[in-house]
Point group: C2
Chain length 305, copies 2
């Protein structure tokens, strides 16, 4: 891997946007935070930052979802159906690319964070990995050969319907699927089930068993994709809960039942690990999305070896 | 996509090997079938064919699994742990590549068939698709941007543990996982449950409901990868059972519950479809694996646009 040129990255989050002008985590020239309000207001503020920064080689955008990442589709680069007022159908990538005037990459915030963890974080140096975020929702980003795995759309592994833990028939909290992984193990699901927030819930509360079971099933499914050499887990529910990691590793190993014999997977302590970059993963991932857009334009390789 | 050069393809199956010398389905110069016996005997017969054919631009091998496809691993191109006598640890790709002396691609027979269905079959022209085979086992090959999705290993989606159908607590037939998708819906699983083979089972037998539910959960999970614009299903159980397709489509659509709003997915009749190439998918996929190995060597593009 070669050094990165100067890049602009925008993480468009549900409550705030983080814009960075950087070559990497140790070379951040400037960082600007903008509250996420209405699309017009928010994007105009981002545009003003990008105009001031002019001179960067590429732009990357890591956005909250759902978004269209299908380049053949008319709504490429738009937010699709979201409950967030005003944002359904908002054009993000087209609008910011016009202002930036440079190659522009666009993907989900989850995939952005995955790319950053793969280059600089808990899966440093691994071209094949998965990143799972467990917070208000549950998402997973899959990176294969250094590139996001996608096609028609982006991954939505949080909505997998796992086999239920023996004796557990709680209906779950997902408005679409009830007891999908997100409906069983997201922050709101934990709160709905336990009657209190995840942070305040006793470490020995049996609710955690169901959470670990569901997340173990998600890891089982991610292993079955054949892709990850490591699974990195972050997000609000994971960050303050180190006791969850051994529980998820045990659930994953038991569920696979020896079927996948790779030593990478069998060594569950190094296979399912905490995220390392925290809140910086999103904006750092955004610059990597910009770098990959530039690579495609130039036929060069900054991000894969 | 440009025309293919002359390529050699080997589908290494559990009972027979099919070797073809071809430029595509309408330009097969020669086809040789070799029974799969002991590795030495079988591979020596394949080598003799390849030596006689010398002059092809690349070789592709689509093998029964499990196999190592991790190019960084010492066992790349080998069969790994298999109950098939003598084949555990057999070096396939290295041995045949030495004889062929040309760029050599290697993957599973399932991924080979997926590539062939994507180029010439039921997903013709779609760079993002999934192919599912339901037979003695259940496997799925995922193609994104015209390339197999893999990393540490190949996909093993057949061993997903699906949520159970309401009221169904049959233990399943998978020796590792019991009621995983393969343990619920493979040919041997149907026979174990129904007491008779899938082919002879009445179309209205309630056993089919559980089979369709499990395969619908597999399709649900494949949709959540974000990759497929179409899911192509083949294999011994699917081929003679057209009544299964509407059942699987209904199970998939109900399970997704409107969460994935893409019209490609919502039009389930054109989203989950029967395979078109039958037994030719394997050897034709093998030549595409050869073409992709050649592309990597030359930096050319025969198989992706």
């Amino acid at each position: 891997m070669t050094a990165l040129p100067l890049l602009a990255g925008v993480e468009l989050g549900g409550t705030k946007c983080v814009c960075i002008l950087a070559r990497g985590p140790d070379a951040i020239e400037e960082e600007v935070r903008i509250p996420t309000t209405r699309p017009d207001e928010t994007l105009a503020a981002v545009e003003a930052v990008l105009e001031r920064w002019r001179g960067f080689a590429a732009l990357g955008i890591a956005s909250f979802g759902p978004v269209s990442i299908d380049r053949h589709a008319g709504d490429y680069g738009h937010v699709t159906a979201t409950p967030k007022p005003g944002w359904s159908g908002a054009d993000i990538a087209g609008r910011l690319a016009r202002v930036a005037g440079v190659p522009t990459g666009f993907h989900t915030d989850v995939v952005g964070a995955a790319l950053a963890e793969a280059r600089w974080g808990a899966a440093e140096g691994l071209a094949d990995m998965a990143y799972v975020t467990v917070g208000t929702g549950i998402g997973a980003g899959l990176i294969a050969g250094g590139r996001p795995v996608d096609g028609l759309g982006h991954g939505e592994f949080g909505h997998l319907r796992p086999v239920r833990m023996a004796g557990d028939d709680w209906v779950g909290a997902c408005p679409f699927h009830g007891a999908c992984v997100e409906g069983l193990a997201s922050g709101p699901a934990i709160k709905a089930r336990a009657g209190q927030s995840a942070e305040s819930l006793d470490l020995h509360d049996p609710v955690w068993d169901g959470v670990a079971h569901a997340l173990g099933q998600l890891c089982h499914a991610l292993v079955l994709t054949g892709v990850p050499r490591r699974i990195v887990m972050g997000g609000g529910v994971m960050v303050g809960m180190p006791h969850l990691f051994p529980m998820i590793r045990t659930a994953t190993t038991r569920s696979l039942a020896g079927y996948v014999s790779s030593p990478d997977v069998a060594l569950a302590d190094t296979f399912v690990v905490p995220a390392a970059l925290g809140g910086r993963a999103g904006p750092l991932g955004a610059i990597l999305l910009g770098a990959q857009a530039l690579e495609e334009r130039l036929g060069a390789a900054f991000t894969t070896s």
